[in-house]
Symmetry: C2
Amino acid sequence: MTRILGIDPGSQRTGVGVIDVDDAGRCTFVHCEALVLLDAADFPARLGRLCEGLETVIDGFRPDEVAIETVFMDKNASSALKLGHARGAALATVVRRHLAVHEYAPRLIKQSLVGRGAAEKAQVQHMVRLLLKLPDTKLQPDAADALAVALTHAHMSATALRAGASVALLRRRR
Amino acid sequence: MTRILGIDPGSQRTGVGVIDVDDAGRCTFVHCEALVLLDAADFPARLGRLCEGLETVIDGFRPDEVAIETVFMDKNASSALKLGHARGAALATVVRRHLAVHEYAPRLIKQSLVGRGAAEKAQVQHMVRLLLKLPDTKLQPDAADALAVALTHAHMSATALRAGASVALLRRRR
């Protein structure tokens, strides 16, 4: 059993999602929430709150691995920069807790969950609910994105594991 | 006496500079160094090392206030994003240590030290050495920039203090 923490960093809200994946690759829902940073006193205070919230989740749920989206390079440099700040604070927190971070491009996450790299957000959300057997209530979008990247990491690891197993099998057959 | 920590964040090297400023606004050099992050295993590990190094400086020198440059918006979005990550990790570390952060635009730092917003880096370095009575050896550039932003904060605080004192004096005279 491996516990995966997915993070969808943002300077207004940061989504976190925790799932367990067993040796057969089956995923079960553990936790998700959006850390709301908007009402902090200023921008540095938001980053402080992000780290604090993330540490609470890491210490409470003790994940084995962490998955995070790579940055979607926005045409708007200012918003990319704000996202960079949030992502930097999040990555530093994870590394300080001695956890390995795996990064996935947005297209790969969509491809992995929906089968199409250009899938819509609603489809990704739908698949997150379906795969984790969540009730048909609306997930907070950032929390859903965090679960999506955690699921992607689970799938990619299982695929890598199977590939590794096949290689091992082939080697044994030789 | 107030101790100021200046930070010049970067994902390859992060400069830190510590100065003391007395009630008359006189500044004395305490410490400066460049945290070298380049040889970390990967980008997240660099951010982790940045935070770790910064915490060591904060815990060792116990500054009262922190000053940092605002981001110079690069035409290169990718380098701005990397800088954003480093700056976010640095700001979060400072806030987690319950220190107030003051941000200064690059132009204001040059204006404050050299008297011209378009001053060259070498001139800023020269003034840093002069103001802090440092020997005429070459300062590491990022460490010098960190001292420059710390000095700017010292000057701005002294100016604000004088302005505040004048207002108080005027009020008393009424």
